[in-house]
Structure formats: C-alpha cells, structure tokens
C-alpha cells in the first residue's frame, strides 16, 4: 500500500459512518499500522449529513481534522449525492488521482457529463454495493450497512486484513468497555446490541455480511 491513505466517509446520521471509521482505524492499528480517526465536527443527528475521516499510514500522521484530499471516498447513502446531504460538494471533491469511490446504492446513480469527465480525468475507480439491502438480508438490520461498506472496502483495497477487521469489530461490540466515539454513537450501540439476542450472533452475522459484501461489490466503468 502507499505510505499514507486518507479516507472520507459520507453518509446520513445513524448509518454508522462514525462507527465504521473507528472500526477501520482500530483494524489498521491491529495490523501494525498507524491511524487517526475523527468525525465531522457537527451536532450529530439521525438522518442529517454525517462525515468521518480515517488516516492510515506506516509513518507518524501529523495532519488533523477533516480529510480535504482523500484517496478513498465511501458514500453510505445515495441521498448524499442525489439530495446533496453532504458537507462536501460535489461528493468527490478533493479526490486524489487513481482514487477510489465506493457508493452504497442498489443501482448506479446518474452522473452528469461534467462529473463523469472529472472522474475520468482523475483516473478514479467507481464501485457500487447495495450495502443496506445486504445488511437487512444477512444481519437483519440496516444498522449493519456500515459493516457491509467495510467489507466492500477490503475487497477493493489491501488497507487492512479481514481478520484485523473482525477483531476490531469484536473489540467494538464484544468488550465490556464502552467504545466512545461520541455520546450519540454510544446510545446507538446499545440499540444495535438490543437487536441481537446474543453478542456471538451479532459477530457471526456481521462476519457473514463482510463476506457477502466482498463478493457483491461491483466496479462501474466511468
């Protein structure tokens, strides 16, 4: 992998955008890399725009705050693009050359001429995954869409191994210690846990979801 990979995740509040970033950062640290993770600095409200950022590197990471120039962009909900529910417009603003975009949508979204031209000029690679549908089908709750997105991510990058991701997931939901990204994510964690009768079930279903997501992601030629 390149020395530094900066990732921007955009979605709607309650989708687990912040949680996904924290799990990915933990997985990176478990893989012996360095990472910093932070959310967009706003009042988090469910269905309002939410953004989080992950930096992964083999060297010390000094930069703080929002990732303005991402190597990877993950879009957790079509409305980020179609309704402009985003803090960053257009959704690929700042994307670096050869950058990757992963979008959660049941079918490719209509991009206009200019958008396609800009993405082509960057040699960007665009992927789609129906993460919400997979989450509902396999984990039985759309709260797991973020896990499907992480599964999709590891299918098209070698940032972290699946094992590291699973360990980070177990740490997040399995431990007795509260994993705090923010007060509201802590509350949603409790909701998520209540959807699974047993913690083991939560883990098993989410691991199955990661597997399914890996094989379901599809590249869309720009």
């Amino acid at each position: 992998m390149q020395a530094k990979t900066f990732i921007r995740m955009s979605g709607l509040g309650g989708q687990g955008v912040v949680t996904a970033a924290h799990i990915l950062g933990s997985a990176a640290v478990r893989s012996g890399l360095l990472s910093t993770v932070n959310p967009f600095f706003g009042a988090e409200k469910r269905l309002a725009p939410a953004e989080s950022y992950v930096r992964i590197s083999s060297q010390t990471i000094h930069e703080r705050g929002e990732v303005l120039f991402p190597d990877i962009i993950m879009i957790f909900h079509p409305h980020v693009i179609t309704l402009g529910k985003s803090y960053t417009m257009p959704f690929f603003d700042g994307l670096q050359k050869q950058g990757k975009i992963i979008i959660n949508a049941p079918e490719p979204l209509p991009l206009n001429e200019s958008e396609r031209a800009q993405l082509a000029a960057l040699n960007a690679r665009l992927y789609y995954i129906s993460a919400t549908r997979l989450a509902l089908e396999i984990a039985g709750t759309e709260l797991s869409s973020n896990i499907a997105m992480l599964g999709a991510l590891i299918a098209v990058t070698d940032l972290v191994s699946q094992q590291a991701l699973e360990e980070a997931l177990a740490e997040r939901f399995g431990g007795t210690k509260k994993f705090v990204a923010s007060g509201t994510t802590a509350a949603l964690d409790d909701v998520l846990k209540s959807k699974f009768t047993k913690l083991a079930q939560l883990m098993d279903k989410n691991i199955a979801l990661i597997e399914q997501a890996k094989s379901s992601i599809q590249e869309h030629v720009i």
Partner: protein
C-alpha cells in the same frame, strides 16, 4: 472495589511500564483521571466536552472517584468546584467554548483563592450565530485570569498534561489552578495512539493542609480572617492588600516553572531549532506545522518548530532564545484574532519577522498547504 497502588508521581510518569491504547481525546481524559486519585468531579454537558465527563462519570460509577454529579450550568459547576477545593479535596471538571464564557467570572477567583483546581477546556467558537466548531478564541480571554494554561497538541499530551497538572498545581508554593486546553474535536473526537501507565497505579492523595491559605473546614486556624474588611473599602491598606495579592498569584505561576520543566520537560519543545524559518505554535496548529515541515523538506526548504506547551506562565526567555537566529517566525492559529502572534510579537527582539498567520477560524481544518504557502513566501 477498585484497588490501585499509590506511587510517586515520578514513577507514574517516567518509570512505570507504558502500554499503547488507540483512544479518542475524551477517552484520554478518562485514562488520566482514572490514575489521578481524584476525589470529586462535577459535570455539565457541552459539545465537544460532554464525552469526557460522561466517561469520568463512569469512573465514579466504577469506584475510582468518591463523588460526581451534574451541576446546573457552568458558572455553578465552577463555583461548586471552588467550594470542593476550599473544602480540601482534589476536584476535576471540564468545559469549553460558551461554557468557558458562562463560567468566566469564576476563573480569576479560583486563582485568587489559590485553589489547585484542574480543569480541562475543549475549545470551541463562541460567536453568534451559534457554532459548535473548533476555534481557540476563548484562550485569548483566559490568558490573564491568573490560572496556569497548558495547551495539548494531541490526546497523548492531554493525558500527560492532565495528570501532571494535579501535581504541579498542588505544590505548596504554586497552589493555583491549571487549565489544560485541547482543541475541540481535533483532539477530543480524534482517535489516536496514547501511551499510558498501568491502570492499577495512581497519584498520592491531595494533602489539604499543604495549602498556603486556610482550608474551610473549621479544623484549622485562623478562625477569623481580619479585623476590618478591606473588601469594599477605599484606603491604602485595601489597595496594598489587593495589589500584593495579585502579584503573589502571578509569582505563584512563575514558581511553577521548575515543576513544569521537570514534569512536562519544559514550557516549550523544539524541532530542528537552527532553521531560518521557525513555526511557533500551540495545540493542533503544532501538528499541522509538523506536516508542513515535512512537506517543505520535500521542496528543499529547511523549517524548524517551536511548540509552546505552557502559555501561562509564558515562556518569554525560551521563545527569545530559540527565535533569535531565524529570519521568519510563522504563527499558524485556529482563531481569527491571532492571540498567539500577538504574544510572540510582544517578546521577540525583532517583531517585524513575525508572520501574522496563517489562520483559520469558524471550525475549519487548517490545510497543511496553507502553512506551506507561508513557508514558501518566507523562503523566497
């Protein structure tokens, strides 16, 4: 029942085994307080501080603290903290932005009453329309309240500075409050690696009778403060009492220097100190500066860094000495007014070489490129 072993501060800070945790700044607060042998904490929610005091509440529930409650607003919380400190216990709280402003009247009284309160401040903008975004403007207002001011660069600093703040604040010849500042969100909500001491160790308890002023417990003298109240009198004795006390509080901060040197390794820290261009910064701006220095090196430009860890007492001599040789001093800041640039200009011998900025405000992240631009202009 929690069992922790009391150890010498030097052992806890410098000799004990360290382990790495991948945690947010808010969690770093909790890890520090867990080892700080704090008696009481008082909380009030405000973004971006709330998570830290939730976690301190969890520590109370687990038995690490003896008392904890939510006050009714920041002014009352800071007042209750003062009452607790006057009653002789080690007490902690945290706030930020509008909370700092709401409580503001209390900070000079903490210093004046010689209370060794440790308070974390997570900076946030204070303008209208309302903002919850990071912005360090409140620090400008806090600089001359009489409290000592440390500024953490990241979660590691926050953990270290909080723990050490208790030890520095409680020295009998110091015994004034310490505000440990960290940039809201950039530190509080950022997950990063932090190395910590074992959780079964803690600082020695606070000794209330080490205070240079009487503890308000009716278990020590004097029972009467004065024969004639000078509070609202206009006479020479009154003026002299107030004037000498203000000087004494300021002197207490100066007497803290040797403890800050010992525990924090100095009021400042430098990187590549001989360079012609120096970045002088505190807080998150230091991290952005470090990234800019690496980028500048890639362009063949040699840049050094002076990180200010302690703003009160102010490292006047250190800044003078470390910037005397250089041609340009760049002061990146996360506020509109440039209070740090003002402070630097007031102490360097030739203040025409101080570059006023770059600055971002309103919550913006400072792109490394912005500092790099300033560097390029200075080297041209």
């Amino acid at each position: 029942m929690i069992t922790q072993k009391i150890v010498d501060p030097d052992y806890l800070f410098f000799q004990s085994e360290r382990s790495k945790m991948f945690i947010t700044g808010s969690e770093a607060v909790s890890e520090a307080i867990k080892r700080a042998n704090v008696d009481m904490a008082i909380a009030y929610p405000i973004t971006p501080q709330s998570e830290s005091m939730h976690l301190v509440g969890d520590l109370y529930a687990e038995g690490y603290l003896k008392d904890y409650f939510r006050g009714e607003n920041e002014f009352s919380v800071m007042s209750a903290v003062a009452g607790a400190a006057m009653g002789g216990v080690r007490v902690f709280t945290a706030t930020g932005g509008p909370g700092t402003m709401r409580a503001f009247e209390m900070f000079p009284t903490w210093a004046g009453a010689r209370l060794p309160v440790v308070c974390a401040f997570f900076t946030r903008g204070v303008n209208s329309p309302l903002t919850i975004q990071p912005d360090t403007i409140e620090m400008a207002y806090m600089l001359d309240t009489g409290i000592m001011i440390f500024h953490a660069e990241n979660a590691q600093d926050l953990y270290d500075m909080l723990l050490k703040a208790f030890v520095i604040a409680e020295q009998p010849e110091v015994h004034i409050p310490v505000g440990v500042f960290a940039d809201g969100f950039f530190v509080t909500h950022t997950r990063d690696e932090v190395s910590t001491a074992p959780a079964d160790l803690k600082l020695p308890a606070y000794d209330p009778y080490s205070s240079p002023v009487p503890v308000m417990d009716m278990n020590n003298v004097p029972l009467r403060q004065m024969r004639d109240p000078f509070v609202m009198k206009s006479n020479f004795i009154s003026y002299a009492a107030h004037a000498s006390w203000q000087q004494e509080v300021a002197a207490a901060a100066q007497r803290a220097r040797r403890y800050i040197d010992h525990y924090l390794g100095g009021l400042v820290e430098s990187e590549n100190p001989g360079a012609d261009i120096m970045i002088v910064a505190s807080g998150t701006a230091v991290s952005q500066g470090r990234a800019a220095i690496i980028a500048a090196a890639g362009e063949g430009i040699d840049v050094g860094l002076l990180k200010i860890k302690c703003l009160r007492p102010f490292p006047t001599e250190e800044i003078k000495a470390l910037t005397r040789h250089c041609k340009a001093i760049i002061v990146p800041e996360f506020n509109r007014i440039g209070w740090l640039a003002r402070e630097i200009k007031a102490v360097v011998e030739d203040n025409s070489k101080v570059v006023d900025g770059p600055r971002v405000f309103g919550g913006m992240t400072m792109p490394t490129e912005m500092i790099l631009e300033s560097i390029r202009r200075c080297s041209a």
